[in-house]
Assembly symmetry: C2
Homo-oligomer: 525 residues x 2
């Protein structure tokens, strides 16, 4: 167990080796293997809308009724006070808060449509909203696995490996929390160790968990130090984000509300994500689950605007169905996809950036993991998702971060990025002259037009095996998971820590060490 | 080898057991397991268009240039004569035919936008065009496999099993040729044995191979007999279909042209499908491959209209990329998906029903098979595909029909069908009262609203395992392919032959036996 006393030994060593010599290199974290460049992805076509404007309005109105007539239980005294001050119906001695629809919509009007998420390496900053698309690594898995060592609880060593993989791969735009929860670090100081690792082993945007005021403030401060900016500048520039899960149904707990208060007041991004599993924490009908999702999202988003008008926010959807025999959540299902699409319609109605997820229920990196994930990504892309949570690494309903799934997802995400690239339709690409030169019955393999282009013509997958059966069988009949297993090891060996200004590194260490000495954050879990 | 002399022994025995007693039962072929009903699927949202009208026009105009300036080699004398009669530029002593653009577009105007494909069981008829969606079983694989017995060449026994599986499952709307090519039947009589099997073991729409006049005419006649209609009625009702693959680049061979002539003149459906693999039989650029695809498709479609104005046709796309190191075709790739979408835009521009495919390059039913297939299906759905070829069973780039992949695809197709179902947005589904009754912090598991609906609330997958890790591990850590392996055996055991009128059965047998005695079709392959 790594606790407050053992912090010195846990400082990532790789950093020390890099001190001094290497010039700060913006852009790609490594040139050691071929990969697409880091770039802001965009979805170039309109979202698919599966319900009409009238039907969308029905969901909207029903959720307003929920907020007005039923309300939410708001456990945080200060939050209730803020809500009351801004016109919500708050009664003495009760946790229940009801929201008038005009008030909700008035605050919703302040949500920014788009904003930048600033990374400590400006080349890795990303944009939220509009038709922008961000892929983030899995967060919060309690366990991790690889094919060789099997499944095990989260720990610091695997945690570090995973964030290295996030840094290595340009298709992963941001980390998304702790890819695996390192339970060998005491909870009171875990966020300090983990965020220091994230801030040094990666230079991408990161996530701060809303588990109490101290964790929020420590996270914000680490973001500020890592970026090397003043507090003033930070207040105007989202430099980290938090996911706020409402306690569906219709409850907001203290850490979540505190998270909104701290993050929004500091100008940091807050993505409100109800966790509305149909039949469990939400009605068994998808429409009903969406009504509940929408009510909770509106309440959270409006509250963020009450805390600070113009606070950068996102509308998160995590509506899915459950296995009614066991209560286990299902992912990547038709119901999940429909909820994704309608969630996107709702987010666009309110002019708020939209978050969805790449999920699966599978216990192995088999066909099920792949189809559930691709169905989820299908839903993400066609719902106009701006921020894809858990885009890489998720397995077992979120209970496990898998090395092999991480690599598989990286390939899938890279394919999707290629799919979203506009097609070259120049005269040269239309190739009438090449067609003429080859002629009927000819072959394009050796033609000059092909020779000049073939090396970069198509996306080269990192997992897909296109060999014919005989060649593949001779090679030992490798399946996708086996190739993924080889690949994560190869890639990890190529990891290089991104440069960090010495003064910043010292300030970061000083802060983290001090907070560890102070005992970190109070923990009752 | 089953040849002309051994036909009597090969008559499917199941049919004999069913004679007499059972009332003709239209609709579901079996009530023995839960499955969604047979129904005409529809895509309820607009296709995704990834290029603008101007860009589409550029492809269209470039393909017209190809037809005018370069032309196609047309190997069939009669076809050239027909083309010449209708205004094409045909020169004595040359196979090359050039097509004036006005002429092409004049004939294209005759393509019907929609038509019905009539099955011998009217409940299994399907509609082509508009926003209709048809899923067909794999066709033409030379090999087959299952996990127990491994990979083997096609044979009659497996062929029969696969078509039984097609009949059993409502989500498979039509067979799509021979799921596996039974090479233990002599080629000269193979179509007679196979089509008799297809016409008796299934009562769904089927495919006729265009491999020479006799095979076309025999197939058309078998369709007529099976439906129990007159020749006159058949001429006005598409009752079978053929896929015409042009010999990309820019060549039409004799069997293909004969297929257009025979099928179109008899009012049977013809789907022109160029086989334009970028870098091999087409330019290495996707835009160029589409120009070539479009030129060949226009030529074939216009020719079908020359043969018979109003001939029911489809525009087929089969553009993909290849592995430039080996020449092996790649499937389910970003390039494949883009070509699917633009092909759909082209087909809609011409007002012709669109065909695409569910494909993969994978050699095993692993994650790769699943993601390539779901990417392909993603492309099908969002390109407005009307007819999905190889929707179930395809593996190994089309070289293998897999039992396990068949079951996996059935699950995927059923999920997609559920995804396309409009959402219930009634007051009851919006569930405000249920939300009120459960209240903040409550649970929906036991609520009356949930109790009343949970049994049918969600799609129940046949492959997906949603169990938690511990339970799944205790059960032996089954992967998707293992579950698929159990499932095809369970399902096959439930197969029941659909009823067939005795007189029709006799007429069919008489026809097939006579043709076998006559030696079937001439074969030089």
């Amino acid at each position: 167990m790594i606790g407050p006393e053992t912090s010195a030994e846990t400082r990532p060593e790789a950093g020390r080796l890099r001190r001094g010599g290497r010039a700060a290199k913006l852009g790609s974290s490594t040139g050691a293997f071929d990969q697409p460049s880091f770039r802001q992805l965009k979805i170039p076509f309109p979202a698919t809308e599966i319900i009409s404007e009238d039907e969308l309005e029905a969901i909207h109105l029903a959720s307003l009724r929920v907020l007005e007539e039923i309300g939410l239980d708001v456990l945080h005294d200060e939050a209730r006070a803020i809500m009351k001050r801004h016109g919500a119906d708050v009664q003495e001695g009760s946790l229940r808060v009801r929201f008038d629809r005009a008030m909700i919509m008035e605050f919703m009007a302040h949500c920014p449509k788009e904003f930048t998420l600033h990374a400590r390496n400006p080349a890795h900053s990303v944009h939220m909203g509009g038709n922008n698309l961000i892929f983030s690594q899995i967060g919060s898995a309690p366990n991790c696995s690889d094919v060789d060592r099997g499944r095990r609880p989260g720990n610091q060593a695997d945690f570090r490996n995973f964030i290295r993989l996030a840094q290595l791969h340009n298709i992963i735009h941001t980390t998304g929390g702790y890819p695996v929860e390192p339970i060998d670090i005491h909870p009171s100081v875990r966020h300090l160790h983990c965020l220091r690792d994230i801030a040094t082993l990666t230079d991408k945007v990161f996530h701060v968990y809303s588990l109490g005021r101290e964790r929020n403030l420590d996270g914000i401060e680490i973001a500020r130090i890592a970026r090397g900016v003043s507090r003033e500048q930070l207040l105007g520039e989202p430099s980290c984000m938090t996911i706020i899960n409402t306690n569906s149904p219709l409850k907001l707990d203290i850490p979540m509300l505190e998270g909104i208060i701290q993050m929004a007041s500091h100008g940091q991004a807050v993505v409100i994500t109800p966790f509305t599993l149909a039949g469990a924490m939400a009605p068994v009908t998808i429409a009903g689950a969406l009504v509940e999702q929408n009510a909770e999202a509106l309440a959270g988003l409006a509250f963020a605007q009450m805390v600070r008008k113009g606070a950068p926010v996102g509308y998160g959807g995590f509506t899915s169905n459950v296995d009614m025999r066991s209560g286990a959540p299902a992912f990547g299902t038709p119901e999940y996809m429909k909820a994704q699409l309608i969630g996107g319609q709702l987010a666009r109605r309110y002019g708020v950036p939209y978050r969805s997820s790449n999920t699966c229920a599978a216990n192995a990196v088999d066909a099920q993991a792949a189809y559930e994930s691709v169905f989820s990504l299908w839903g993400c892309i066609h719902s106009g998702t701006n921020f894809v949570k858990h885009a890489a690494g998720w397995l077992e309903g979120g209970l496990r971060c898998s090395y092999e799934k991480m690599m598989l997802d990286i390939d899938l995400l890279q394919m999707i990025a290629e799919f979203l690239e506009p097609l070259d339709l120049s005269e040269d690409a239309l190739a009438v002259d090449a067609i003429r030169d080859v002629g009927p019955g000819g072959h394009f393999f050796g033609s000059p037009h092909t020779e000049a282009r073939y090396k970069t013509a198509f996306y080269a997958p990192i997992i897909s095996d296109w060999r014919n059966y005989e060649t593949w069988a001779l090679a030992g009949s490798p399946t996708a998971v086996e190739r993924a297993n080889r690949l994560w090891k190869e890639r990890l060996a190529l990891y290089e820590e991104p440069p960090m200004d010495e003064a910043i590194r010292e300030e970061l260490d000083d802060f983290v060490e001090r907070r560890i000495r102070e005992g970190g954050a109070p923990t009752d879990f």
